[in-house]
Amino acid sequence: MGVRLGTLRQREEALAYLLVFPGLLVVLGVVLFPVIYNIWMSFHDLTLANLGERAPFAGLDNYLKVIRDPDFLSSLFITGGYAVAAGLMSIVVGLAAALLLNVRMPMRNVFRAGFLFPYVAPLISVVYIWKWILDPQAGVANWLLMKGGIISAPMDWLTNSSTALLSVILFQGWRYFPFAMLLILARLQAIPTDLHEAAAVDGANRFQQFINITLPELRYVLGIVFLLRFVWTFNKFDDVFLLTSGAANTKVLPILTYRYAIGTGQLGVGAACSMFLFIVLVAFILVYHLKVFQWGK
């Protein structure tokens, strides 16, 4: 009997490997191998021109080249700063939307579905809509703001170095708040109503209830949303690339990576540049693992 059980177990295991294998192969080939290849590239003088040959070992040259780039340090600060700002932005807007949607209301689901539009629509469409709205000559934004007396002359939102990054952050708040909204709303609806009822009986007003009951209950989900938004924004390429192409103080690290690797064909330098993104990601995953999973317990 024991033997038969053993073989059954072994057959199950063999089948499991067979089922997992194709998916694993794709992940290993298109995610894990590239990551290792990227590390290798960052230490070799690889360019588009010598891609077919043996690339010479370059030591830390690629990294030094990135660090000595006058754009690098400012890029690092810009990327970090805007990832924090855009993460907070999407959380604040998402929290407001979730609190509004948590009130029992006819047509609530229609509002909720409408709010998801920025998040599900193709990036390419929403980027160009905003570029058109913010167009310095014929854009409706300038007209509205001038009508409202907020600005006195048309502004060049996406190419002026004092407003471009702000515009990107506002765009990302608009586009990504639904992600925060969905997660926060799910948590809000799981808060037992008797907590609020008990507080109301004790004479707590709505604001006090929000500060003392709702916010503590949301702490965990807000933490997760912020960390996810931060790391995804930090590594975001296409939003900035399409909105400003990295001009006007918006040259974030992913754009710098793109410029090296694809713009000028210096694959090794590009790989080294992306390693800085990689380090931030690894640090993030560690924090995520150590901290966030502990809160959840």
């Binding site: 177990r9 199950e12 089948l15 490997y17 089922l19 997992v20 194709p22 998916g23 694993l24 794709v26 992940v27 298109v30 590239p34 990551v35 290849y37 990227n38 590239m41 690889l46 891609l51 407001a96 939307a97 509004l100 949607l101 209301m105 509002f111 579905a113 709010f115 998801l116 920025p118 998040y119 599900v120 629509a121 193709p122 990036l123 390419i124 809509i129 905003w130 058109w132 709205i133 014929a138 409706v140 007209w143 992600f179 969905l182 995804w232 590594n235 975001k236 390429f237 296409d238 399409l242 992913p254 990576t257 690797a261 590009g270 992306s274 990689f278 990601l281 993030f284 995953i285 995520y288």
Partner: protein, 280 residues
Amino acid sequence: MGKVARRVLVLVALLAFLFVVLFPLYWMVISSTKSFRELFSTTPVFWPSTFTAKAYKAVLTSPGEDIPDLLDALRNSLMVAGGTVFCSLLLGTLAAYAIARLRFRGKALITGLVLVVYLFPAILLMVPLFAMFAKAGLHNKLSGLIVAYVAQTLPVSLLMLGNYFRSIPAEIEDAALVDGCSRLGVIWRVTIPLSVPAIASVALYVFVIAWNEFLFAYILLTDTKKFTAPVWISYLYSQLHTPWNQVMAASVLVTVPVIVLFVWFEKYMEQGLTAGGVKG
């Protein structure tokens, strides 16, 4: 504050919110149907005096010299998104079943790997994939793009399908096994039919991700005939004088399928959004 007053206040806030969220959508549609004069008038026109389909006709038939029409790009996008959905579902279902139901060594390692890949941003793969695809001659191949998208969407497929498979009572499968069904037979005849909602969620999620994707399509496709719709639009935009009404018309045409899917299958779609996000 009275209950009624409070609800009215919330409703007003919701309406204002919705206006800001959806105004760009409205502006896109309106701009795509304006005549050139109204498109560029100094006072913006909020409701055109006449609607014209000229921009749509232009993007669909003759957008300009050396630009293929948008229909080709939409067809490419459809092929890539469809192929990605098929492969991601196939590989995802098999692996998710094994992880949810079978005992094997290395399972923890694989689930850990899935989490890491899930968190992995596309930008970190940009340089190595660009180099690898150039070496392998996979530039300008839609199949290459599908492989890249499958790898990126597989973790979410796995997580969503695996969670669902676990919710199916094991007794049902055991009964089929006792009746002489093989494991693969059980997956095909029992698990998959019972998991239609989860499969629909994953399919929608993966389709939208692949349909919307820009970065890899942009760096891997250089032949205008192979452009997916997002790359095509960025190419149209980069013309010397941006034809804004055409860019808006093309944007409407790429957005409509997503919105239709979303409105029809909202429930399924939201599951994907919370599980995976659009990772960006």
